[in-house]
């Protein structure tokens, strides 16, 4: 069965979430949301997923702070962070680039919960579809949240890796470096190298990112697409047009 770029990202995310008890997704996150719901469907009822913006898949009752308190309690196993810039030590920048802070040339919305969740959530998946030297820089201009330093400070959380349109980088916490773990079907190591602004470890042979099997794709295109459509109808209309059409 053939699959789209988004379907590969979703199924890859679902694989990265295996074994989690509690996963949350933030604002404007249809692919992580679908990935988490897929992982839940495959977990035999062992995983809880909280999709921000959902009604049916949001079980929080204690206001906006509860997600952060869950992380502080050690209950939140996985979360997703992006970045206007991400560097090779896994520092992320959600604030702005160029010029002098706070009068940066480019200003993004801001750090949201990253300055906290990145430190507390054991399995943070860095997720940024755009894979370019503009985004993946040698050094971020502003550290919204720092990569793990191994300096002995309290830090149960941190990145397990970085997923883009081209590849999956695993993050090696000891070496404080990314390692190219798999390249998505149809792309090459050279393409990754050309479009990455930071240094990373690269084994001699890099496998292709595992393709989803037919059963997983079917599950995704039916039940999961329907579930995520509640929160992200436009995303579903675009990525799963058949389901969207059937639903109308």
């Amino acid at each position: 069965m053939s699959f789209s770029r988004q379907e590969l990202l979703i199924t890859t995310i679902a694989r990265l979430l295996q074994g989690c008890r509690l996963v949350a997704t933030g604002a404007s996150s249809p692919i992580p949301g679908a990935g988490a719901l897929l992982a839940r469907a495959q977990s035999n009822g062992k995983m809880r997923v909280n999709v921000l913006g959902s009604v049916r898949n949001d079980f929080l009752c204690d206001g906006g702070v509860e997600l952060f308190d869950l992380a502080g309690q050690g209950r939140l196993d996985a979360f997703f962070l992006g970045g206007g810039q991400i560097d090779g030590e896994a520092n992320i920048n959600l604030v702005g680039a160029g010029g002098e802070y706070p009068q940066t040339n480019v200003r993004w919305p801001g750090s949201f919960g990253s300055g906290y969740l990145y430190y507390l959530v054991p399995r943070v998946i860095l997720f940024r579809e755009e894979h370019s030297r503009r985004v993946l820089v040698p050094k971020v201009d502003f550290i919204s949240s720092a990569g793990p330093k191994n300096d002995g400070t309290y830090r149960p959380g941190g990145p397990i890796g970085l997923l883009t349109n081209l590849c999956w980088f695993a993050f090696d916490r000891d070496k404080r470096r990314f390692r190219l773990d798999s390249v998505h079907p149809g792309h090459t190591v050279e393409e990754v190298r050309d479009n990455t602004g930071f240094d990373f470890d690269c084994p001699d042979s890099v496998p292709a990112t595992a393709s989803p099997d037919a059963a997983t794709l079917t599950l995704l295109r039916t039940r999961i697409a329907a579930e995520i459509a509640e929160t992200y109808p436009r995303f579903v209309a675009q990525v799963f047009p058949d389901l969207a059409a059937a639903g109308e």
């Binding site: 404007s28 206001g63 702070v65 604030v95 801001g110 906290y116 430190y119 949240s145 002995g152």
Partner: protein, 279 residues
Amino acid sequence: MTRELGQVPVHGLDQLAAQIPNGAKIAVPPDYSGVAMALTRAMIRRGLRDLHVVCVPVSGLQVEMLAGAGCLGTVETSAITLGEYGTAYRFQAALKAKQFRMMDATCPAVHAAIQAGGKGIPFMPLRGLLGTDLLKNRPDWTVIDNPFSKDEDPVVLLPAIRPDFAIFHAPFADRNGNVFIGRRRELVAMAHASTQSLVTVEEIRDVDLLASEESAAGTLTAAYIGGIAEAPRGAWPIKLWDIYDYDEPHLKLYGEMARTSEGFARYCDQFVQDQKAAE
């Protein structure tokens, strides 16, 4: 004579905005909790200056418009975003022009500092933040060594935030001035931390929210509330919970007009000044 709900005065929107002086520190909620946009327009009409806005923990169109209208002295927030409705042009322009002081934060830090304000404690510790430029640019935050740890254990302390006003919009108030806030507990935290809350509501209902356990659980009690105004569709063009949604065409129109300060001024003429009678 002013009407009262219990001990809470009921004002018109402009009267309610008149309670707020220049330089006031105000706490505002995120879009999903209920933003007092009609009151924000009244604040712009009033020509408020030098406001210190604490976003609990983020804001959008509200701060964008206050920035465009020159009302801001300080913005303390974890993000300013119009989401899929585009760029916060007026906010960005005012920031670049140094029209206000920017205090970038992370969501749980704002929540924690507001909770500290509501508990009357001088500060709250927070994990995370170490090694960030957020911390580096917040001289009001400090780092101590956790006195309960045997090993070195730096932890950030955030001073309590005590705003003058919590300002938000809710579905309804009851006949005693209690306000239904559901599970939007950041509204409770804001109200506790602030000297008083100025609240707009879709309507005033002749009920007693404290009469049943269920409704009381989702209630902000009147003791925190300094004034209420009735403002049907008072969060417009922002959504209010699941009661009404974003006004997408209007937000697109705003996004187009607000690209330039002239366009924003025309927007204000049309939708802020001229709406006075309507509101």
